[in-house]
Symmetry: C2
């Protein structure tokens, strides 16, 4: 422990979460602000303000988790969807110049993966894959102790050839995302139970024994298992961590996923694999942003 601390910034579509992070993953002075989405200038000003609020002599670096694939070579957010951050600015240099500190940037799901690896469900593992199931489906991986620096956009693997269309700017068909998110669960729940039912209510119905609700979650879990099976055969992780709000569906989704993973994974990859829920909750992205800052420092 060298006593150095950093500021982590988890930039989301609705909120900016900030905090001061130490090397043990501890979070102090946690703050939340609404994300200014009117323009890139307003967004950057909002980020500046969020950082300034926590700045002090003990702060050694800044780390940002960004909801976009990140080009580490140019420091750019290549495809931010819910925030007005364009690919034509070098976000990392902009922040480093503004604050005179080392700056690390990373995709938000990668950052959350990094945090779960060091301080959460993956702290005993050497290699893991994480999937976050929320509004969208994000992902990240750690290979032999190192954060995987590809895109890791696991929600955009094809699992159903010519299947369901993606939402938003993605033109793909049959990607994992439209089958396994809370949004997907809400859609299926409303088709079965009417417009007042959402994913949370669906899980509640399943826990009360409703067979239709359980069948819906079973189908979601089987599709999730196909995606995890692909990832196991690519990354050979010891551990798969499921985070995001819809992870609350728990074993209603994870048990069928485990069944399909055993079928899809090559034998040695699937034998000892564990599939577990994330442990850090909504702090994962913030803590991961802090880890990214420490990486920029080291």
């Amino acid at each position: 422990m060298d006593g150095k601390r950093v500021i982590g910034v988890d930039l989301g579509g609705t909120k900016i979460l900030t905090g001061i992070i130490d090397r043990d993953g501890g979070v102090a002075r946690r703050r939340e602000h609404p994300t200014p989405v009117g323009s890139q200038e307003e967004l950057l000003a909002g980020l500046d303000g969020s950082v300034e609020e926590l700045l002090g002599d003990d702060i050694a670096a800044l780390g940002f988790g960004i909801p976009s694939p990140v080009d580490q070579r140019t420091g750019r957010a290549l495809q931010a969807v819910n925030i007005p951050l364009r690919a034509d600015i070098d976000f990392r240099s902009r922040m480093a110049g503004r604050f005179g500190l080392p700056v690390g940037i990373e995709n938000d799901a990668n950052a959350a993966t990094y945090a779960e690896f060091h301080f959460g469900a993956g702290r005993e593992a050497r290699s893991m894959v994480m999937l976050t199931l929320g509004t969208g489906c994000g992902g990240g991986a750690v290979v032999d102790g190192h954060l995987f620096r590809g895109w890791a956009e696991f929600g955009h693997m094809v699992i159903v050839y010519d299947g369901l269309p993606c939402q938003g700017t993605c033109t793909g068909r049959g990607h994992l995302e439209p089958y396994v998110t809370g949004v997907a669960a809400t859609k299926l729940a409303q088709e079965a139970f009417g417009p007042a039912v959402d994913a949370h209510r669906l899980v509640r119905l399943a826990s009360e024994g409703d067979e239709v609700a359980r069948d819906i979650l079973d189908g979601i879990g089987r599709h999730l298992g196909a995606g995890i099976g692909s990832l196991v055969n690519i990354f050979n992780p010891e551990l798969v961590v499921i985070g995001g709000g819809f992870a609350a569906a728990g074993d209603f989704v994870l048990d069928p996923a485990r069944e399909i993973v055993r079928r899809e994974a090559l034998a040695h990859a699937g034998d000892d694999l564990r599939i577990v829920r994330a442990e850090l909750g909504t702090a994962a992205g913030l803590i991961g942003a802090g880890l990214v800052a420490f990486d920029a420092l080291d």
Copy 2:
């Protein structure tokens, strides 16, 4: 150039290819022997003989490409299918002890990928994905100059949920492999044209203008594109290299693949992506085994 040379060994199900490899990827004294498949002892004896034939004072290390996922930590071939090499021997230590030289081992498709990256189609790239289409479908990746050391069993990504069964020991359904290999092409060709037609003949028919043959190759290419699209969203490569015997189908398969990749890839990943044929042919595995030997040395 330090003048050091290594022995590369490309261990296949039917042949052992060997050669002396220099740091520029040059191959000298190339040899081929049938693979002894009667027992593990015969196999190891055959490998020993193939190495001894090329040994000399100038040989600094040995590298083996093995048709199996490899556990780099324990030096084992975890799941060799077509050769009698069991996971209970530490293959790397066995060879290092036998010859008193540094030994590197790697999955054969990873080795071929490494060779194409350094000396073949990927020599100008920083990141690439390779798929080999032959009897099976193998793969490998290079991320920012480093060989990806996960399993990279890209033939076993799910692309058709609950789809075609795999062959052999894989229990999976709808993996990429049964849709895109030469074996898959032969099967479809025989259904359309009768039992005397194989993948080579199918490509010939397509090049002569046969619409049925072209449609079959188009369908194969579209499935290949779904798999490549997934890989692009995971690895964000500059380049996708297609090797293996069935790569001879060329643009009859690659053009529809490119079309589907444009649909499936996230915008910034797919925009500048090139999909090209491998350049090193059957020497890729051998040269890659040599590179793995140099890595063991460095």
